[in-house]
Amino acid sequence: MEIAVDNIDSIAVAAVPVDELDASNAGEFKRDIAPVLQANTRLVLDLSRLRFVDSSGLGAMLSCLRQLSAKSGDLKLCGMSKQVRALFELVRMHRIFDIYGTKEEAVHAFDH
């Protein structure tokens, strides 16, 4: 999948380019986000397009967080729909990710 990466105030902002992130495409996502993770330590994942995520999709995001944490970086999430947010809460993942409403808020959070 083609992941578009913006740079806002020297923070990489990658948009998840699918409506559903699940077992059928989580592997592909992990593969295609890998260069972004290599090139950056501070990353915002914009989930605005995402309507559904399953445990594989959440696992892929957790893997991103862990890779960045391993090199003292950080990952923040933004643009979650209510349904996606509900799933994060259901499995307590909202407690380990920094989650923001907009990408501007997420980027700004890196400065504070």
């Binding site: 445990s55 259901l90 307590r92 993942m93 380990i96």
Partner: protein, 829 residues
């Protein structure tokens, strides 16, 4: 408030023509635009659908008005969680409750259609096995009638309870796909779907603040789609909601796999997910340990609790207010996972501290127990539980740890007590005890009849009663008089209304006013005419379905209920055999000619119950074909017992068989339905029989047999000596010997030898031979009494008059006042 034929017609006369015309127009529009059918092409079933949709319009109007009122007033809401709702047919019930039955009758007659025939086109919604599910359905009617803001939560099973067919006396089960032709009553709400994760594992990690954070990983997700059924209350002022969830896959199917050419693989995941709501489990031991059943139970709980929390959050932002605005009643242990699920939501999702979440959970939940048999209490192997619900198991462990700490403080060093009370049973394998979870997590624990509640306190859960005496209370079951008298028995309902008015429909105690008419010859004659007419109708059904010709003037002796050892259909058959052999071998004629009618389903995996069905058929075949007995005794088994059939059988009963082993039937509600319809009860002092006895008087019932305490003593002291009864009493011997003599199985030798062995076994849990002689004596007394027709009818009228206590309105009003702390708009004082 219009219900009975005469009053509805009289009062509505001025506007009747307009109303009938409006109904006709509505039915025509639904036929054309909802069903897409030209009027001339409409089948009977489609006409039913069009009529039902036009009735549903009225219910929807009421629902929208009421939802608006609830949005404004934000009352406390009652949520009734039940794995079963045995609804039956709905059309007739709605027409009665809304007071529009005669208008619809007129509207349909101008189409050349008969209302009763249209009503008969409706499939029963058989989303339950028996009493527990039917109780839930009666409660929904009472919620709406009493104006209590309430919602029932259940599963939208595609296949309800199996259809029973009889082949050579053997039960055969056929799938009952009640949704095959769709149902006009359900409103799907895909926009309110909820996601339900299951399976997976816990990954132990830390959150952003460094605290312990168990994450639920590798789960599979189900989607619950709510389907709403609207339940009318009598008078039509309020409707209750029954929200049934259907399981759907998270995706229709994987288009990528499909494009690769493997269609079947693509739909496999979809099919597996949808299996969750595919079928209602029959009530038998096979349910225990079934993984799909555990997933079903969690699916119901997860969907319901999520929906309840969502509704609460629409109007409130502080969860400490939750118990003041929400009550959640668990109909038996099947939804007991609600304890862990509500805790999970409050702690994991809403970030509440454990103690606060626990206080809220306990104050919100109430648990109704329905069984006294320890072996019937639900348990799940820990390993299975962990694989299906890993996070919930963690939460249950923590609940248990804190609970057992408290028990240890109250009873230091009492290791055995701790072992008994633990939510986790130490066995091989370890098991999660759902009743213990429900009792620990609820502020109220109730039984369903007074004796049942006492037995819970003294036998089933004495440790819990000692720890939490304030939680235990009794709520004797009840039945809705709208379905079980107004709809089922219009002849009697009309007679009652024309005699004492219609107040009994919402205040069943008003039936007491009939007492002064019990000895009135004119009233007795009318009462007898109604009963005779009901018996004639049932005689035709018996002829059509069981191919047995029966005499409506004979005593209709009826036992209709699930087939189960503890309900002792076998004892009934033993009496029939005794009566038959006394007639043909001793020349002793019974007091009156009798027709013994049975109906009921045996759980598919329950061999003994299926054998009893076979026995009833074989005994019937021998007796019904013996010319010496043909005037005196007939035996018939009506196949496929269900709510709509019960509505035809019960009004025709003279004698109601309620003969369970004392201490085994939690309450029973068939006993109430039959007595309310003017049957006299022959029964043991078990379940609600005891309270029926208190109401109707010992002189108006035929009570016999061991009491619960005596049964318990005999069990403890192992003092049952069936061989002594066998040796002492030639009647006992002759009946028992008949099981080993092939008298009733000439073509299948030794088929019933097991019964010979079973009733002579000192371990017979149901003490057939001890209760046999008192039962025969009580039956003789019943027969003698029936010969005096005037006396019998007077007793039957007094039974009807004194059944006021057994309205589900009374039961629900007690739950509302004493457990939920709510008032309905028309709640009884």
């Amino acid at each position: 408030m219009l219900s009975t034929t005469e009053s509805a017609e009289n009062i509505q006369k001025p506007a009747t023509a307009d109303l009938v015309s409006t109904i006709q127009e509505s039915v025509r529009l639904h036929a054309r635009y909802s069903l897409g059918k030209a009027w001339s092409d409409l089948s009977s079933r489609e006409l039913f659908n069009a009529v039902a949709l036009s009735v549903r319009d009225r219910l929807v109007e009421r629902m929208l008005e009421i939802e608006e009122r609830y949005r404004r007033d934000v009352p406390k809401r009652i949520n009734y969680l039940s794995i079963e709702f045995l609804i039956g047919q709905s059309l007739g019930n709605h027409l009665h409750n809304l007071g529009i039955r005669d208008l619809y009758r007129q509207a349909l007659s101008t189409f050349g259609a008969d209302l009763e025939a249209v009503e008969e086109c409706e499939e029963d919604a058989a989303l339950g096995n028996g009493g527990l599910g039917r109780l839930a359905a009666c409660f929904l009617d009472s919620f709406a009638t009493l104006g209590i803001p309430a919602c029932g939560y259940g599963i939208n099973y595609e296949y309800g309870l199996f259809k029973q067919e009889i082949n050579n006396g053997y039960q055969k089960e056929k799938p009952e796909n009640w949704l095959a032709q769709g149902t006009p009553w359900e409103i799907p709400r895909p926009d309110e779907a909820c996601l339900v994760p299951v399976y997976g594992r816990i990954e132990h990690g830390v959150d952003r603040k460094g605290g312990y954070n168990p994450m639920w990983m590798d789960w599979r997700v189900l989607i619950g789609i709510p389907h709403d059924m609207l339940i009318s209350g009598y008078g039509g002022r309020t409707v209750s909601l029954l929200r049934l969830y259907a399981a759907r896959s998270s995706r229709d199917f994987d288009i990528r796999i499909f494009n690769d050419g493997d269609y079947f693989k693509a739909v496999k995941q979809k099919i597996a997910s949808e299996t969750i709501s595919k079928v209602l489990y029959p009530s038998d031991a096979l349910v225990q340990g079934r993984e799909l059943r555990l997933v079903q139970e969690y699916f119901l709980v997860a969907c319901a609790v999520r929906d309840i929390v969502r509704r609460f959050e629409q109007h409130h932002d502080r969860f400490r207010d939750f118990p003041a605005k929400v009550a959640l009643q668990l109909n038996d242990t099947h939804p007991a996972l609600a304890v862990a699920e509500l805790m999970r939501i409050l702690v994991d999702e809403k970030d509440l501290e454990w103690e606060e979440a626990w206080t809220i959970t306990q104050a919100t939940l109430g648990y109704t127990n329905h069984t006294l048999a320890p072996e019937a209490l639900e348990k799940w192997p820990v390993s299975l539980f962990e694989s299906v619900l890993p996070r919930h198991l963690q939460i249950i462990y923590e609940i248990n740890r804190r609970f057992l700490d408290r028990v240890s403080v109250a009873h230091p060093g009492d290791v055995e007590r701790i072992r008994r009370m633990s939510i986790i049973e130490e066995s091989t394998p370890n098991q999660v005890r759902m009743a213990n979870l429900a009792m620990v997590g609820s502020h109220s624990i109730n039984g369903v009849s007074r004796i049942h509640t006492e037995l819970i306190k003294t036998s089933l859960a004495p440790d819990f009663f000692q720890l939490y005496p304030e939680r235990f209370n009794n709520k004797t079951n009840g039945i809705t008089p709208r379905r079980w008298l107004l709809k089922a028995n219009p002849g009697l309902a009309n007679l009652i209304s024309s005699t004492i008015g219609e107040g009994w429909l919402t205040d069943l105690y008003r039936l007491r006013e009939l007492e002064s008419h019990a000895a009135n010859a004119g009233f007795q004659a009318e009462f007898q005419r109604v009963k005779r007419s009901n018996k004639e109708k049932l005689a035709r059904i018996v002829q059509d379905t069981a191919q047995v010709k029966v005499d409506p003037d004979s005593l209709f002796d009826i036992q209709v209920k699930r087939i189960h050892a503890y309900k002792r259909q076998l004892l009934n058959v033993m009496h029939i055999i005794d009566e038959y052999l006394s007639l043909v071998e001793d020349g002793r004629q019974p007091a009156v000619p009798r027709t013994y009618i049975f109906a009921g389903k045996a759980p598919p995996g329950y061999w003994l119950a299926k054998q009893i069905i076979k026995l009833i058929h074989n005994v019937g075949r021998v007796i019904n074909n013996d010319l010496r007995a043909s005037h005196w005794i007939k035996v018939a088994f009506i196949p496929d017992y269900r709510v709509s059939l019960a509505e035809k059988i019960i009004p025709a009963a003279d004698l109601s068989e309620q003969i369970s082993t004392a201490g085994t039937e939690a309450s029973g509600t068939g006993n109430m339905k039959l007595a309310l319809n003017g049957a006299l009860t022959i029964g043991t002092l078990d379940g609600a029989n005891i309270e029926i006895l208190e109401e109707v008087g010992e002189e108006n019932m035929f009570i016999f047999g061991l009491k619960a305490a005596e049964v318990r003593t005999m069990r403890e002291q192992k003092s049952y000596r069936p061989w002594e009864d066998y040796a002492r009493n030639p009647h006992v011997k002759r009946v028992v010997d008949s099981f080993s003599s092939n008298l009733f199985c000439p073509h299948e030798p030794d088929l019933f030898t097991w019964i010979f062995a079973s009733v002579l076994d000192a371990n017979d849990a149901h003490f057939h031979l001890t209760d046999f002689t008192p039962y025969v004596e009580a039956q003789e007394k019943a027969g003698e009494t029936f010969r005096d027709r005037g006396r019998w009818i007077r007793m039957a009228i007094l039974n009807v008059a004194r059944m006021g206590k057994f309205s589900s309105d009374r039961t629900v009003a007690e739950y509302a006042r004493e457990i939920w702390g709510v008032k309905g708009s028309t709640l009884l004082d």
